[in-house]
Symmetry: C2
Subunit: 299 residues, 2 copies
């Protein structure tokens, strides 16, 4: 069992039609490792400033997250500010203060280098080489990306797609990368670019998974009150990869269950601001929701 | 086994980014009865002009559709013209020539009046009374509607929602009727207006079903090349109601399977212009696709 998550640990300022929150804890690495912590003991690689709350570090530790790879540097923590509309799939970035994240070159602790699964959350694709070069021979390399890299680092991104095993994308990203409007075509085109598995996240409409000769889909948990969609995608990745790390299988049935656990964790993430929902979550609730997914879709 | 479908039998002129078709056979009653014919022997109530092709009537008959309720009147058949964009969920009506449909007052043949299931496809809700008054005591009354009636006959529509058992709506209609943006809230609000079952059609994202203490969902069949989305919703209703008529059960498991059969029939409808796909479809292909749905969603 060894999953390394390379991603941001940050402050988020969130504006929604239902309320605002100033500088609460967020970041892809935070969401992903918290979600994964219900299945495995994830290792996180990232950086925070000295302003980052110790009690959040203690919380992550208490959830079994390995923090050896999380650097604390002089300076301020990465800060993102975003705004959501009524339709939670639409969001606007209002501010990005990279702070200590600006010069971040992920150093992988020696103890992490033999890890089985490596997840590159929202890293600049030009830095993948540097990060992956520090690992021995991971069984699985997974990556997500953000609109910024699609717009500004397209060639590097396409090159990285050619060498990762698993790629997470939302519908907008999938369309932008492939130029395909139809989501099924976009998913298949992404598989054609390299990854053996593409996870296409559709927000309130669930997720589709494409492999060579493999299609699987899951609905979203029916949620009436999305409080804060931030981190849903990272929590999805955390549930998915955390479960895969735990089962250590990669058969179709493992992938299917991992996708559902990913959806389960995403469905929790959006029920409160920031990481709030994970503070009141235990494995029993995770299993109960997994069963609800079964009930929702079984015929 | 007795399902009566009251709806339009029409000519459609279809414009899509992939091609056009002039005055091909369409209409809610046509799609619905063809889709239902793979499960039961549906009875159709509608009207066509003398310009309607005899060979289509012969085709419906050969599929086991009971045509006693389909009037042939002097004059021209209802003609609709519509245009689809790249996103097949967006369509614009370019022309509506009601012709013989303008004065259509559905007369239910004596033989149909004891039918078990009645489906009012896209009827003016002010005419429901007249139609339903001719039936003895149907076990199930189902209805669909169109944007036109939501905009122009809102009160009558709300009144009808209070007395039908099953309501079919697409996402736009559900939002317009309830004023809810969130689709789960919209679905639940519709159940609150009367129907014991609400089927919310989401096009490429599948369908959700709401009852009192019941939620079920199905993904759409992954389709890369939507040729013509016309009739998908009516084919969904036909598969759903046709299967329910055949099983004669109304338990949760019957509803779930009916929803999947509805999705199966809708997935075929969009693979060709007009009713083209149904001309080359047999029960074996229907069952094979039902199994594909299982494979797509089982975990």
């Amino acid at each position: 069992m060894s999953l390394v998550i390379v991603g941001s640990v940050a402050f988020d300022t969130i504006r929604t039609p239902w309320g605002d929150r100033e500088k609460i804890v967020g970041g892809s690495g935070t969401y992903c490792s918290l979600a994964a912590s219900y299945f495995t003991r994830p290792r996180i690689v990232g950086v925070v400033g000295r302003d980052f709350p110790r009690k959040t570090l203690a919380l992550l530790k208490s959830r079994g997250v390995d923090l050896e790879g999380l650097k604390v540097m002089a300076g301020k923590t990465f800060h993102w500010e975003g705004k959501y509309e009524e339709d939670p799939n639409r969001r606007t970035t209002l501010r990005t203060e990279l702070n200590v994240f600006a010069d971040f070159r992920p150093e992988i602790p020696a103890r992490y280098r033999g890890s089985r699964i490596v997840y590159l959350a929202n890293l600049n694709p030009e830095h993948h080489d540097y990060v992956l070069g520090q690992f021995r021979k991971p069984a699985l390399v997974a990556m997500d990306t953000i609109r910024l890299w699609i717009d500004t680092k397209r060639d590097a991104l396409l090159k990285e797609l050619g060498r990762v095993d698993i790629f997470f994308a939302n519908d907008e990203e999938a369309r932008l990368i492939t130029g395909e409007t139809n989501l099924i075509s976009a998913g298949k085109a992404l598989v054609g670019l390299g990854p053996s598995l593409v996870l296409l996240k559709k927000g309130e409409h669930g997720a589709l998974v494409f492999g060579r000769d493999f299609v699987f889909g899951v609905l979203a948990h029916p949620c009436e009150h999305v409080i804060d969609p931030t981190g849903a995608g990272d929590s999805f990745a955390g549930g998915f990869l955390g479960f895969l790390d735990k089962t250590s299988g990669l058969a179709g049935k493992d992938i299917r269950r991992a996708v559902v656990y990913g959806s389960v964790m995403a469905s929790f993430a959006i029920e409160d601001f920031g990481i709030g929902r994970f503070l009141k979550l235990d494995r029993g609730l995770v299993e109960a929701r997994f069963k609800q997914f079964r009930k929702l879709t079984t015929f």
